[in-house]
């Protein structure tokens, strides 16, 4: 039960909680701050002066745009692939029983448990053995391996909550397989797919390790950022890009939060 007294936690605990939150989030504010610094070679504190010139510089740099477009494309397609394959796999594992079901479930989840470096090396040697040249699609493939897991995990959890008789009820009332998917399954797993898809997109968008092994000469946004940090020239441009990315991803995350909040209530309504 919730009582009024729950508001009065000990002072020490309050301070500890505040310190913990500050430790996590203040560095992000620092990133924002250095996007405005006048000093471009090192991050000295406090910044010697403030300027907005880096926004214009970043806007005019073609390498920023190339990296950003590549990352958005890779993340979108890897997420789309993961949504289809992850959902199908989750449906098969949760709705039917077949030989090797548990093994398949484990094998699907494995890529996220494996260190990225193992996945990366394995994919790289597989690509070279099969003589597949590095391309946009090798990055997408690499990312899809772990994006599928996130979608699968979200979908499988939701599928388990859908009572099996819902699907039977739909069929019983005259809906064929496609109609049942469209009118019963999709509305019930939709929010889980949205959450899984968002997470998959975010994972792909900032992935470095697997990408370095599968990208060849191409630079996704996080790889571009790493390279920029090594180079002591126009450093604040990196911060500008980071800031824009944070702000651009914040809106869909907020949207997804509100969507899944309502969705959970519906799904939680039970059988």
């Amino acid at each position: 039960m919730r009582s009024e007294k729950a508001n009065s936690a000990p002072l020490g605990l309050k301070i500890a909680a505040a310190a913990g939150l500050a430790f996590m989030h203040l560095p992000i504010l620092l990133i924002f701050l250095y996007a405005f610094t006048t000093e471009e070679k090192s991050y000295q504190f406090p910044p010697p002066g403030l300027t907005t010139q880096w926004f214009a510089v970043a806007w005019n740099r073609p390498d920023v745009w190339a990296a950003l477009t590549l990352s958005v494309k890779v993340a979108s397609i890897a997420t789309a692939v993961a949504l289809v394959l992850g959902t199908l796999c989750a449906a098969a594992v949760s709705q039917t029983r077949f030989f090797g079901r548990e093994t398949i479930s484990l094998l699907v989840i494995l890529p996220i448990a494996l260190p990225g470096i193992i996945t990366g090396i394995a994919l790289r040697s597989a690509f070279s053995m099969a003589e597949i040249p590095f391309s946009f699609w090798t990055i997408v493939l690499g990312h899809a391996t772990f994006c599928i897991v996130v979608v699968y995990n979200n979908a499988v959890a939701r599928f388990r909550r859908i009572s099996g008789s819902l699907i039977e009820a739909s069929m019983d009332l005259g809906a064929d397989g496609f109609q049942t998917f469209r009118y019963v399954i999709l509305p019930n797993i939709g929010t889980a797919l949205l959450a899984g898809g968002m997470l998959a997109f975010a994972l792909s968008f900032d992935e470095v390790i697997v990408t370095t092994f599968t990208a060849g000469q191409q630079s996704t946004l996080p790889i571009w950022m790493l390279e920029e940090l090594i180079r002591p020239r126009q450093r604040p441009v990196t911060n500008v890009v980071a800031m824009v990315v944070v702000m651009a991803t914040f809106l869909p995350i907020l949207g997804a939060y509100y969507l899944t909040r309502d969705g959970d209530q519906i799904a939680g309504a039970g059988k």
Binding site: S165, E168, A169, M171, L173, A267, A269
Partner: protein, 331 residues
């Protein structure tokens, strides 16, 4: 016309014979009950009719049409599920209209049909609510409306009243019966509650271990159980052993005797009698249940509460009419 025909139908799950060579014929407009303990195969039979299971062997017909291989969505059969299986993401009206929606019936027409169906199950004006906002009894009615709106030829009910409390159950039993008579649709319902089957059904099939033990009217099943299982499961008849049968001049190896057919009194003309001692007694309201020990065999007597109860251990004579003793198959 025959609504549902099972010709030697079996359904095996691996080595388990869930349904084992079942034959039955359900007539159009009949209220048919499949009664049995859990795991007796009654629900599998219902699922075979709905199309959720396919028979391992045998032949099923629904209104003269072969049902094997026909998916659930192409059968003129609808089901009321045990857990109701209402779609949680749809309003009550959309739940009821679902069958019409997937068949492509226009919005206005299906709304009207769904509202009529809700009125029929006495839930008019509930259309805008969600399943989560209704009580168990109301959800049960919605499930019924959702099935009936499709005008099925056969309505299947899987333990429809299992989750309701006693009072609501009795009320729903009445309503289901009235509804079935007024609609004239064939109802097939599965239950493990013998009282429910006896009070509602036109005919009862008693299931055990995948087979039909007895098929007949409630009176037949109750008064003349053909097997020991039926005698025991439907209203706990006394089962008299071969020894006792022979002593009473009966050739059968087993016979059943209803507790209410036995009186604690000396035999009148032509009646059979046995003597023993009172082993136990319990008060059941309208009757007393008195168990008599007849040389090791126990015979339960339902004696009207108005009569006196002999003390435990006292010698008594029990008597019953010869026609109340029903010979049974050895099973």
């Amino acid at each position: 016309m025959t609504a549902v025909l099972f010709d030697n139908v079996s359904r095996y799950f691996g080595a388990v014979r869930a349904v084992d060579r079942v034959n039955l014929e359900i007539a159009e407009g009949e209220f048919f009950a499949m009664l049995g303990p859990s795991g007796s195969g009654k629900t599998t039979c219902l699922r075979l009719m709905a199309g959720f299971e396919q028979p391992t062997g045998g032949h099923i017909e629904i209104f003269g049409e072969t049902a094997e291989g026909v998916p659930p969505y192409r059968r003129s059969v609808n089901t009321v599920f045990q857990d109701y299986a209402l779609f949680p993401h749809l309003s009550i009206l959309d739940n009821v209209a679902y069958g019409l929606m997937v068949k492509g019936v226009g919005r206005e027409e299906r709304r009207r049909a769904a509202e009529d169906a809700l009125a029929m199950v006495k839930l008019p004006g509930y259309g805008t609510r969600r399943p989560g906002q209704l009580s168990g009894g109301q959800r049960q009615r919605v499930a019924l409306a959702r099935a009936l709106v499709n005008k099925p030829k056969v309505l299947l009910l899987d333990e429809p009243l299992g989750a309701l409390d006693l009072k609501l159950r009795e009320q729903m039993q009445e309503e289901l019966k009235t509804l079935q008579k007024s609609l004239g649709i064939t109802f097939v319902f599965v239950t493990h509650d013998q009282g429910e089957a006896l009070s509602m059904a036109d005919r009862i099939a008693v299931f055990n271990e995948g087979r039909i033990q007895q098929l007949g009217s409630p009176e037949e099943v109750y008064n003349r159980p053909q097997t020991r299982f039926v005698a025991d499961f439907v209203g706990s008849s006394n089962v008299l052993s071969e020894d006792l049968c022979r002593r009473l001049g009966l050739k059968a190896s087993f016979a059943s005797l209803r507790p209410e057919a036995v009186a604690i009194a000396p035999p009148s003309d032509g009646a059979l009698s046995l003597s023993g001692t009172v082993a136990s007694q319990s008060f059941l309201g309208a009757t007393n249940r008195i168990v008599i020990d007849v040389e090791g065999a126990r015979i339960a007597v339902a004696s009207p509460a108005a009569r006196g109860v002999p003390a435990v251990g006292s010698p008594v004579t029990i008597s019953f009419a010869a026609h109340d003793l029903h010979p049974m198959e050895d099973a």
